[in-house]
Subunit: 490 residues, 2 copies
Amino acid sequence: MKKITTRNQNYSQWYLDIIEVAELAENSVTKGSMVIKPYGYSIWESFQKVLDKMIKDTGHKNAYFPLFIPKSLLTKESKHVQGFAKECAVVTHHRLKDSPDGIIVDPESKLSEELIVRPTSETIMYDTFSKWIHSWRDLPLLINQWANVVRWEMRTRPFLRTTEFLWQEGHTAHISEEEAEAEARKMLGVYMDFVENYLAIPVIPGLKTESEKFAGALRTYSIESMMQDGKALQTGTSHNLGQNFAKAFEVKFADKDGKEKYVWQTSWGVSTRMVGALIMSHSDDDGLIVPPRIAALKIVIVPIYKTEAEKTEVLAAAKVIQEKLKILDENILLDDRDYETPGSKFNEWEKKGVPLRIEFGPKDLEKNSATLVRRDTKEKISVALDELLEKVRILLEQMQKDIFEKAKKFREENSYQIDDWSEFKKHFQEKEISGFVYSHWCGNDACEREINEELQATIRCIPLEQKEENGKCIKCSKESKKRVIFAKAY
Amino acid sequence: MKKITTRNQNYSQWYLDIIEVAELAENSVTKGSMVIKPYGYSIWESFQKVLDKMIKDTGHKNAYFPLFIPKSLLTKESKHVQGFAKECAVVTHHRLKDSPDGIIVDPESKLSEELIVRPTSETIMYDTFSKWIHSWRDLPLLINQWANVVRWEMRTRPFLRTTEFLWQEGHTAHISEEEAEAEARKMLGVYMDFVENYLAIPVIPGLKTESEKFAGALRTYSIESMMQDGKALQTGTSHNLGQNFAKAFEVKFADKDGKEKYVWQTSWGVSTRMVGALIMSHSDDDGLIVPPRIAALKIVIVPIYKTEAEKTEVLAAAKVIQEKLKILDENILLDDRDYETPGSKFNEWEKKGVPLRIEFGPKDLEKNSATLVRRDTKEKISVALDELLEKVRILLEQMQKDIFEKAKKFREENSYQIDDWSEFKKHFQEKEISGFVYSHWCGNDACEREINEELQATIRCIPLEQKEENGKCIKCSKESKKRVIFAKAY
């Protein structure tokens, strides 16, 4: 059996080992793309189910736009294409044919215009939005799409950075700048709600710097989380696009005053990258840990027996437990495989991060109880069967809270305020878990770039919630009113 | 306002008009690809929700495999690649760059091996299956994927034939030929259940002829439906792949007897094409008709008022009706837009095929009743408010049944048994609605091809449910035991 590298030994290898032993994903023969395995995909489906409802509840409608974007369309907004040009998968032909050298791409099938596999859908969508929107009555237009996108990557890492990934992308058009700004902030709030309350990952909402914002946006907001190695991971972004794309794609409306105006737009997205964040936030050296509210499989019952008589009795009682608990969740697994030992079942579900394991054997049967085992703390709790339903319900809620609090405590313990350059430098050069460093910054690109080059730390965001404070830029000592978060990042 | 071409005037244009007025989809700037608009996509989501549950309930698990297939992998099964070679979108480069002529594809980013955008996923999946499967304990392997696929098409038609389309594709591996055959038949049965009981489209399950089977399959089953112009449409297919792919991709297992054997496989899929089938089966000259069980929006309430006082009273009572009916369906629309007249609302929801419209105005309020209008028959029914819930429930069930029966009756009225070649020929040459023709066929490719060339009629399937019967091939008069269905087809 595969042994998991510990986090202390090698965090990076530990991450890959967790993905392997929990059967989440694996590399595919297509370089840079992964296969999302059934258990990993069930977690993504669980994300989708919750988030899709949140997106619809805020008035957005799902639609589907083409995978291929003609090159001329992708290049219409100049900053946008500059941001994605180096990552574009390009379709140039549409046929294969037999040849003496085997099957080749038919040169006669060359396209008159190359097609780009969407890296994101602003351009292909807004070309259509310009046809859908005529008057202020057509606004706001609130569209969401669940799709695969492709951004060519040289160095990939499952879930965190893959050439193809799955995501949702929201795209909206509004009557005014204020409304677009409110939308961008609202959707950042939706992501925050989802990531904190379902994935149990604490986040810091903030504004990206000019150098880190989305290509073509006016401003980009993000939510940033701290992984267990102290590195930052951006779990979601929301962009106020201003009128940049509206002008490039002629997305205009007749306002109430009869005048023709450009719309104000937003876009926002989260991806399978969140699965990587989930893994790195909570899991331990024994495997994955999934918070109960988002777990596709929350509870597994493992029956324990030796004799045939015991087996009959235990399985019958275990089925009653399974039925009883279905009030909490339809999907409760009674793992009755008889070619696996209870020990190897414990091990398997531990590796897969199922929140709660119920061990049930002849002794439990005798005492009219069952043994609950929490995945996060490994704590074993004996519970009378007639209290089981209520205890399990409470325990799942408690675990959700505890997992979040643990991650939050870790983040707090690894957050620093540093106001002195030599201390700042030493911190990032020497500290193994460098965490989040709150320091003043003058707002100048040059300081940001120099810090990144020297210390491999970047500005993750300018936190939205902070008091104004007089300070001096950590690098150049110019005056500053706000702290930003510096961190090493994924 | 757009006028819908009638079916009698031009069936083909009628189909396009329905798609336009019901706001289902539209052409995109990417040639051959369509934009699925929010209302059209909500219908696809409704399909997905029901079918995904059916697929999971029969033991399959969802997963996700790469969009791109290396050329060498696609070409491993020789018949398979021959079937898809002419329809392959090929990715050859991975970067754009600036040049004096504008942004161009960077010639230095040429891939060492071309990537094919998946036309279907047998090859990319089975390469992985060969790593997942070791022993008989790993079987059956039952995988499903919801994805976009690309098959290059020169002549496209929204939903029916587009370069990119959405679908689900099931892929399974089994221990024996019998088990694979049973699986292929079982999934055909699932599709039949879904299409008949939800989409209300009667189908005929059958076997495809050798010339019409899936490229690389041992045999292909399909379900065939008749559209309102008498043409056949294949709504789903299920393939027994035998060991063809297993041998090409070395998908082997150690059997109970210790011997290493190739697995037996199936694949099966349905796509956004089903939306086309739905439109063409039921809709009329006034717009779309969606059967209640599959309608994303089943009921719309249209309030009618003139004065402000009426408006207040009517809207308050309409909200009570809306709440009451939520027991039947969460998603009931009270169309309270005050800038549209009731008449234009009636018209809009009629075009969009919402099964039941509830008209509610001052007169209804006075009589403590509401007026129900069936979309399929246009029948108006006045119902007392305290009977509303039960009446609506019964009516929706009745409509589901009636819509199915109507389509079935149409199919029966347009089905023929023909045993004489000159009659057969005259039938396809002269009859406007040629429908399904049950005739004997010797099993020979040549007869099938000649009929197709002469009459543009193809063998849709060899129906599974039929009595053996001595007859003579309609073309060559050789002996035959079975009838097949000849039809013009989409």
